[in-house]
């Protein structure tokens, strides 16, 4: 599928020559799988339950020890366990909201590009308006309206504020594709508009959607962490990387381990997503995928 997206014949390239390019893709790919496995396997990896408050009365933040390699938070909870469980929230919320954004943006963009005319104008101007609103600010205002926002609400909010770019770029792709001969040929063969769109155009959108989705994931992870850090995301006692960071940000002494470990988790997953998006974009080099 990837190769056939280019119009020219792909020449057989010796394996050795392909290596550097493939490594740029494989390293972040392995890292993503690793991060996802950690999230899935959190219950087995975590030494103690993430919300367990010690019964021996040590309800205080302590720096890393043998018993608690990542230290404990002000409530005495094991930070390692909380970071592991936090991966589930951070990556889960990110993935689901991006799926929503890509799906919604993809449909809006495809419809606008395919229908053209008034529909296109109205939808794209709407996107222009929405793009003018700062995303974090909008999220802050909206999350502040809820006393306790359920996780599903957070996912929907992130999804509904993340589709604008997708719609724009998909629309541009569809417009360009509509001028290609194979679309005219499909019409001449009696294909209905729905069939042209679904069978002939949508397969071409995969590179764009994949790259934008991966980039969007990095964005969503940061946004979720930001909101949770401010106490507007996940609700206590649930652990997310952002909320652990927030737990460390209280007056009364430096607790570097509460910043370092969840910080590493956020940074590494965002970098991984960006590297993967970049590698995917290079992979689809024949195609122009806007960022």
């Amino acid at each position: 599928m990837m190769h056939s997206a280019s119009r020219t014949t792909t020449l057989a390239v010796p394996r050795a020559m392909r290596r550097p390019r493939d490594r740029a893709l494989h390293v972040p790919l392995v890292a993503v799988v690793l991060l996802a496995s950690i999230a899935v396997a959190a219950p087995w990896l975590a030494p103690v339950p993430p919300n367990q408050i010690p019964s021996d009365g040590l309800i205080t933040a302590s720096s890393p020890t043998m018993a608690h390699p990542f230290g404990t938070d002000p409530l005495g909870r094991d930070v390692l366990s909380r970071v592991l469980y936090g991966a589930r929230v951070s990556l889960g919320v990110g993935t689901l909201s991006v799926a929503l954004a890509v799906g919604f943006g993809g449909v809006i963009g495809a419809v606008a590009g395919f229908m053209g005319g008034v529909v296109d104008t109205v939808l794209m101007r709407l996107v222009d308006v929405l793009l003018a609103i700062p995303r974090l600010l909008l999220l802050l205002v909206v999350t502040a309206l809820w006393e306790s926002l359920p996780l599903s609400g957070l996912i929907v909010l992130l999804g509904l504020t993340g589709w604008y770019d997708v719609a724009r770029l998909v629309r541009a792709d569809v417009r360009a594709l509509c001028g290609r001969d194979f679309v005219a040929a499909a019409r001449a063969a009696g294909a209905s508009p729905a069939r042209v769109l679904w069978r002939h155009l949508v397969p071409h959108l995969q590179p764009t959607l994949l790259v934008l989705g991966t980039l969007g994931l990095a964005n969503a992870i940061v946004l979720e962490a930001s909101l949770s850090f401010l106490g507007l995301g996940v609700q206590p006692p649930q652990a997310s990387w952002g909320s652990i960071l927030g737990d460390g940000y209280v007056p009364g002494g430096r607790r570097w381990w509460l910043t370092l470990f969840p910080g590493i988790a956020v940074v590494s997953s965002v970098l991984t997503c960006n590297a993967l998006a970049d590698a995917l974009r290079r992979r689809f080099d024949g195609r122009q995928v806007g960022v």
């Binding site: 040929a185 009696g190 069939r195």
Partner: protein, 329 residues
Amino acid sequence: MTQPLLTVHDLRVTFETETGPARAVDSVSFTLHAGETLALVGESGCGKTLTALSVLQLLPDGGHLAPTSRITLRDQELTELAPGTLRGIRGREVAMIFQEPMAALNPVLRIGDQLAEVVRAHTEASRDEAWQRAVHMLERVGVPDAPLRARQYPHELSGGLCQRAMIAMALLLDPALVIADEPTTALDVTVQAQVLDVLRAQRERTGLALLLITHDLGVVAELASRVIVMYAGQVVEEAPVALLYDSPTHPYTAGLLAAVPTLDVERERLPDIPGTVPAATAWPAGCRFRDRCAHAWERCAIDAPALTQVAPAHRVRCHLVDEPERRRA
């Protein structure tokens, strides 16, 4: 004479442009009978492809037909059909072969899928049946290893094989009319001959009518029985192939034929027709070919020539028909 398969009457296509309406096709009329091959000849931009697209009612954005234009397939008036009915005709009764097979095939779909899809769009055939019909048709147009080729993507096939696949796609549902828009222009000379053979064989096999659009007079001589020469959106000459080649009457036709290289006459340089086609937004008054014509005189600047019958199947749009003594040697 029996009822024609296709009747095009007073076809006018206009595009709205910034510099005013462009009359890209201007009052083109012709008929095509079953089993017949009609060639539309002319240089780029003279309206050949638009004429073909009009038949399928697939004009590009911004182009529209005049309300008086009539395109009749058997007894159906195509200009008045609902979009759904038209889709039923496209691909089933009227199919089109495109100029560049590599571009006209979807690069991300397997050849077999693209063909099977045409079957599935028009019939109740199952996925498997449609695939079988696709493979069978690929075999019929001479694609070697058809079952294997059907599973490949367009970029894995040569240009010639892709064009065969396009032809197979056009012939899948036994259309009565096939429009071939420059079917050989993008191909190597040796492959061109093969593709023409395939078209000829299929025409003999199914009795389909072929509307052949080309600027290659060699292809015309190979396949067509009748020729329409178009210039600047108008028909300038219509004649059976043999007659046209022996005695071209319109100076433009004569110029086109003279510009075909031959091996039996030694020439320093091929004669050409000076100048270019005028812009469709500003056709000159009088004869549109006047500025490039070696015979033109005052009348040509004032009086637009009409398409005149000069022999039973021979029509010409030129004042030389009335005043043959004006023709210069």
